[in-house]
Symmetry: C2
Amino acid sequence: MEIIKGGVTAAKGYKAAAAECGIKYTGRLDMALVYSECPAVCAATFTKNVVKAAPVKWDRKIISEKETICAVVLNSGIANACTGKEGMEYNEWMAGRMAKELGVDIYDVCTASTGVIGMQLVKEPIERGCRLLCEGLSDSTEAASLAARAIMTTDTIPKEAAVSIDIGGKKVTIGGMSKGSGMIHPDMATMLCVITTDAVIEKNILQKAVSNVVDDTFNMISVDRDTSTNDTVIVMANAMAENDTIKEDSDEYVAFYNGLKTVAETLAKLMAADGEGATKLFTARVVGAKSRQSARILARSVITSNLVKTAVYGSDANWGRILCALGYSGEEFDPEAVDLYIESAGRRLKLVENGMATDYSEEYATQILSDKEVTAVCDMKNGEYEACAWGCDLTYDYVKINGDYRS
Amino acid sequence: MEIIKGGVTAAKGYKAAAAECGIKYTGRLDMALVYSECPAVCAATFTKNVVKAAPVKWDRKIISEKETICAVVLNSGIANACTGKEGMEYNEWMAGRMAKELGVDIYDVCTASTGVIGMQLVKEPIERGCRLLCEGLSDSTEAASLAARAIMTTDTIPKEAAVSIDIGGKKVTIGGMSKGSGMIHPDMATMLCVITTDAVIEKNILQKAVSNVVDDTFNMISVDRDTSTNDTVIVMANAMAENDTIKEDSDEYVAFYNGLKTVAETLAKLMAADGEGATKLFTARVVGAKSRQSARILARSVITSNLVKTAVYGSDANWGRILCALGYSGEEFDPEAVDLYIESAGRRLKLVENGMATDYSEEYATQILSDKEVTAVCDMKNGEYEACAWGCDLTYDYVKINGDYRS
């Protein structure tokens, strides 16, 4: 596998565009389009929130009923959630406008929206946007980057990743973009993600890979425990790499799976590190757990604790809060067996052995925790399974951003 | 029922004391004692965290094996959690010292600790403290208040409540104190609470009343979702009111239950309102739910959302976040049936009808939300059950307090 530059246009046959339409704010990109020259097999995962945005309902229907799609149109500013029947009509209208510009069927177009909940979309800017997007389509790296920028809300950086892999002598490329900074929590969040690949793969195999990858990547990040109404990951595979069809459980499947996971994990970590107000990427790695599920639950409990997150912000080795968060996760374990380490930039310090503090240096602990990327390793000494979860610190700026988000 | 002044010394036969011992900090009260002149029937609930502090383990054993206790000794500064076998020995030593001073059996003394996790207790200050507490015992209202003050950590106000009720012509009194400000979450938190009553009641009936009341009060508050290692609610009933023994499911039981619930609910709300950094008490009332359990889960999901909490801080009627938090609670409901109101000081405004925004005045909404006590009412229109949960806003000061708690 080779990690390469680029995003949604890295794979063969994909184009992207971004446009500034003034949907809610002026002077910023707020619509994006990802388009495949030929119909692409599609798979997706969506929010499990009972309250589902109009585009999520639209896409679920398309992904469940159709083999392929041609495009995904995305907007930021307005989430089109909690907008009732009228919201569904606006969404269908947006898909229809985009389809007409592209000359494809309306059911070839998935939609995604992110932004404020409860407002209706506005037709005039979106109509203009669809026209601009179609005119601006390009397979350049720059077009992909602008699309990644156009879907940002409180994000501070655009998020892209791409890899190329070898499948039976053919080069297969996988690239993606995502957004998400607040309302981010396992089971996905106000996150949107589009991943494109030129691999030849059947729909059910692609869906299996996507579901498993999302579980280990996007579902293992949390900024604030809030699972949003709009979470969407759409993966398109347009077969232009001309590899032999990827079979279930083959070596080729493993290669494809690892490539997809690398793209998704890179995007997921970029999202966690860019959590609202965050100054640090905080990773919890649980090892020695009795099952994979147990390791996942324990790791997520650590990265979602507000008390752990504020301690990470303060570079304070307050390990009691980490043990405490493990303890209320719902998982059973022996607290007096747990070892705890902190790591950053190749440094590693054991804070806890068998549930009690070691004689560690607070000064060195603070040095390690002052890094931009910090990991807590929890050894449960209870089995052979492990899991990683990614989050960020909780800061003044999180409160600032969300205390007056709408104003 | 009459709400009266006072705390743990309001009921007959109880004395309290506070002492300044220098356990972790100097110049502040850090030990407290609640003592009954005659053995008191005891009931309790404890943290469900797998990581349990030494005093929790000690008390669980006493409460499960014994009918009565005489005293509860409490300290702040050090939580005696994650302290291993040595911590258990320190705890037993503290109970023993207190018992010796009081001239009672060591198993007549429950213990409670709150403060930093992972440090061992220190003998010299506690030995002096036990002596001072015994000398200082008094049934005055002031002694009770000082005890409530001595168990504070990041709390900004001492928390006390008391009621008197009539049981078959006899006046029965119930009074209590509690502490807790951070690490507060359903299933209790770094909260300690001692409630005393002079009622005549059997142990199993008292335990039933306590368990049910705790479920509806202390388990319905949240400051930060962090369930601590030390949560303890101990209720003592010393029979000095000489009422006829309270029988299960009798009118007298209902009167006693309501009295106990009022004390517990008052303390719980004081704790939520005094959440770390909080500027407002935020109540979620869910009505029209399909079951009591469903109402409880929905209400707790709303008060624990960081995004809702920051919106409450900003007095921003960002109702989408409330619907979103209902949506990811795990409960099924029809989002397009939900009505949502905000209330404060007798004012009430409907923000959402059938899942969509009404034409409400943002200005008036902000006025209502600017109050010190704010309620969100969620009508699920799905049944007849309701529940209340109490929390607070999430502010800069929460981050400040927890970003450098140990320094």
